[in-house]
């Protein structure tokens, strides 16, 4: 393996890592606030990509990339709130809400995927890159699109992190996550904060969909694999801090890139899940600490 190949694989791994970080962070926002896993997160990614495509790249709408991103964020926020009200809220006071919401969100994901299939058809589509052309660093050529994507992902993650850390609403979301009853007694509007966290998570998924759609093909089932990887990242890295799934995402992305090169494409998922099992045996709370949110 030459140094150039190494850098090439490394760049690929970083791109994957950035994507996974965005997906996993969205998933972690719901997991740490509501205490449930949202299996519709993958379908949210798909829906975001299709919404952006509809607004920015078709005959009917070619309002440009920015409008596409805005449509994905706004549309997915609303979708997230609706999903929460219809699929999670009715079971909120049940003791087995975690299990119930696995099934209901899975059902929601299937319905949303099929709806996308009905509306836009199964033919694969692609979002044009945000910026055309390639750039060369140290003899490695990557598309400018991917570099811009990594930068944007980091900016988005920093913004979400700052929102949770410093804004009053973010602080309230963290408080509700840790002690719902104390938050209620202090006059916080818990149902609204739950719906907001779900909407925020879905909006992040919508942006992730926009990026996935610009480097892979879009199909109605394009969200399945990212959901798998996001789950892997969240369990693998833990959610002790806002940053833990982000680190874990880059680890998973790099492992995936190198494993694809050395072990082969078909065995890469096995490598990743095998690695996750080993990590969980040694460190059950995840690589970066406990299943409890601090920031």
């Amino acid at each position: 393996m030459t140094f150039e190949t190494f850098l090439f694989v490394l760049a690929g791994g970083l791109v994957l890592g950035a994507l996974y970080a965005l997906m996993a962070t969205g998933l972690a926002v719901v997991w740490t606030t509501l205490g449930i896993f949202n299996f519709a997160h993958g379908a949210f990614i798909t829906f975001g990509a299709y919404l952006a495509w509809q607004v920015s790249q078709t005959e009917a709408g070619n309002a440009g990339y920015f409008a596409g991103a805005a449509a994905a964020v706004a549309g997915l926020f609303i979708t997230g709130v609706i999903f929460h009200l219809a699929l999670v809220r009715p079971f909120e006071r049940k003791p087995n809400v975690v299990l119930l919401s696995v099934i209901t969100t899975l059902a929601g994901a299937t319905i949303l995927e099929n709806a996308i299939d009905l509306v836009w058809g199964p033919r694969s589509k692609q979002l044009a890159p945000m910026v055309p052309g390639d750039a060369t660093f140290f003899g490695v050529t990557t598309s400018k699109n991917q570099i811009l994507m990594i930068v944007l992902v980091l900016i988005i993650l920093a913004a979400v992190g700052a929102f949770l850390r410093y804004s009053a609403t973010g602080r309230a979301m963290r408080a509700v996550a840790q002690n719902r009853e104390a938050a209620e007694l202090m006059g916080l509007d818990v149902p609204k904060l739950y719906a907001g966290a779900f909407g925020l998570s879905a909006a992040i998924a919508g942006l992730a969909g926009l990026f996935v759609g610009s480097i892979h093909f879009m199909t109605p089932s394009m969200g399945t694999d990212p959901l798998m990887k996001a789950l892997l990242v969240v369990i693998f890295g833990g959610v002790a801090r806002f940053t833990s799934p982000i680190y874990a995402a880059f680890v998973v992305g790099l492992v995936e890139a190198f494993s694809t090169y050395y072990v082969g494409l078909y065995w890469t998922p096995a490598v990743l899940f095998g690695l996750m099992i080993v990590v969980l045996i040694v460190k059950p709370e995840g690589l970066f600490g406990k299943y409890e949110r601090s920031v």
């Binding site: 009715p90 840790q178 916080l188």
Partner: protein, 263 residues
């Protein structure tokens, strides 16, 4: 205005489905007076207060705060089957958010607060209940003067605080919420005598500031110094009402509740 009591409970019953904990509680708290609740452990004092602040739904009866009804009137909807999800069909009969925002603040028993938030962040959440009621200014300064220990701990996470400090933080949060009526459920539970005195002094200061209290405690002598009326609570009912003038000592109360055996 003066004829409308601050808080009035009419025939209030409640509990944790399907177990009834307290029944037919009638209680009137006049403006500007503080009330004590005294009774053995496990007889429903905390459940009653949790119902008043809306954490759990009342089964029947009314909760009136400054003349405004806090719960939806009427009997609770009965669950006729264990197999149906009644949460979907029955609306909550109370909303703790509205209770807190009306100014009825409940500092829960053994409140664990938010483990991973810092003291500063926790105090930052507290004024939310006071907003929108046009309460004057920020009371955080005042609360910190009352509990100087907390200002040394501003950047620590709540889970690193001692039990006493956490209790102080709970009471401080209650104070910052600008209560019209402050419920303190066993604020001195499990504290050392020294911390107990410190907290008792702070509660005295809160009362001296004109905040009416409902306070639950096992120490009658501590209650005596704070309240005008004492309600005895026994087996889910109010079994007696004593004015401050003829408030007995700890031993006498024990006799009243348990008979001669325990004296």
């Amino acid at each position: 205005m003066s004829t409308v009591p601050l808080l009035e409970l009419q025939h209030l019953s409640g509990g944790y489905e399907p177990v009834q904990i307290f029944r037919d509680v009638d209680l009137v708290i006049a403006h500007g007076t503080s009330t004590g609740l005294f009774g053995p452990n496990g007889h429903g004092k905390t459940t009653l207060l949790r119902t008043v602040s809306g954490v759990i739904d009342p089964w029947s009866g009314n909760i009136l705060f400054e003349g405004k009804q806090l719960n939806r009137p009427g009997e609770r909807g009965r669950r006729r089957s264990r197999n149906l999800n009644y949460d979907v069909f029955t609306r909550r009969r109370m909303n703790p958010k509205n209770v807190a925002r009306a100014g009825l603040i409940h500092v829960a028993q053994g409140n664990l607060l938010y483990r991973e938030l810092t003291v500063r962040e926790t105090l930052g959440i507290a004024p939310i209940a006071a907003r929108g009621r046009g309460e004057p200014g920020d009371l955080t300064e005042k609360a910190l003067r009352l509990f100087p220990r907390l200002s040394e701990r501003m950047n620590q996470k709540v889970r690193f605080l001692s039990g006493g400090e956490r209790q102080m933080l709970s009471v401080a949060c209650g104070l910052i919420a600008a209560p019209r009526l402050l419920i303190l459920d066993e604020p001195t539970l499990g504290l050392s005598p020294k911390l107990r005195r410190e907290l008792a002094d702070a509660i005295q200061a809160i009362k001296a500031d004109g905040v009416p209290l409902i306070i639950v405690d096992q120490d009658v002598d501590f209650l005596k110094s704070l309240i005008e009326t004492l309600y005895l609570f026994d087996h889910g009912r109010i079994s007696g009402r004593i004015e401050r003038a003829d408030m007995p000592s700890h031993e006498e109360i024990m006799r009243m509740l348990f008979g001669e055996v325990h004296s």
